[in-house]
């Protein structure tokens, strides 16, 4: 049998929690304040520099390169999750 499961033992919910914490720290809000679809710009007053900080932390934490073109798509937690999932290759 081939084991293809995520060896870190984390699933969708855990990945979302990780990202929520990382993003909330950059936006200087409490993790529970960050909803899955709340727009970083509209609801949490993020600017382009915050977006770059989120990108930088993701690259560091998951050791992936996320092209800056992807930034435009990363407008909320769910969108970041989908982008990172595709880059890292999560199978959640």
């Amino acid at each position: 049998m081939t084991v293809t499961a995520d060896i870190t033992g984390t699933g969708r919910a855990a990945h979302l929690d990780e990202l929520r914490e990382l993003i909330a720290e950059v936006l200087e809000i409490e993790p529970e304040e960050l909803t899955e679809t709340g727009s970083f710009v509209e609801e949490y007053e993020a600017d382009s520099l915050r977006a770059i900080e989120i990108l930088a932390r993701i690259e560091k934490k998951y050791r992936v390169e996320v092209p800056q073109e992807d930034l435009a798509k990363m407008e909320n937690l769910l969108a970041v999750y989908e982008t990172v999932k595709a880059r890292v290759g999560w199978t959640d």
């Binding site: 520099l49 770059i52 900080e53 990108l55 930088a56 690259e59 560091k60 800056q68």
Partner: protein, 177 residues
Amino acid sequence: MSDHAHIRSVLPHRHPILLVDQIEEIEHFDHIVTVKAVTGSEPCYAGMAETTDPRRFAYPRSLMVESFGQSGALLWLESIRREGRELTGSLIFAAAKNVTFHRAAYPGDTLRHVAHIEQIVGDNAFLRGQTLVDGELAADYGSVIAVVRQTESLDGRQAPVASQLAAIPRQHTMEEQ
């Protein structure tokens, strides 16, 4: 390498806001050690009322942070130049976070900055480091971000960083201890 003329060829800053005097040590894309001498003839002391309170002559923290930021930018831009590349646009001190101050510097003191590159993402450099005075910790910088942004010059052409004036710091979110 460590001469002042070289620093001027890399940083766009000029008197009186060029706040790095010398490079003591540089390891490209990793860290830099720079010095900045504080003197009684700094513009920040000009026009001060006569006072017998020596604490009034503490070197402004904002300038200490700026001097550190310039040191980090110097490391970043010099490292890139060594690869034969040059960034175009304006160098901007974008943000400082988790900055703590531990002792003041006075005229006659030398600031010694140790700046590390944490990460480079596109035209954004994430730095961290410390400022030492007489071997003692004067300031600790958890995160400083320097960026280069495109700004059209008057004739519409882009100039290399070193030939443009640096922009005013856009955002400071300093937390003091």
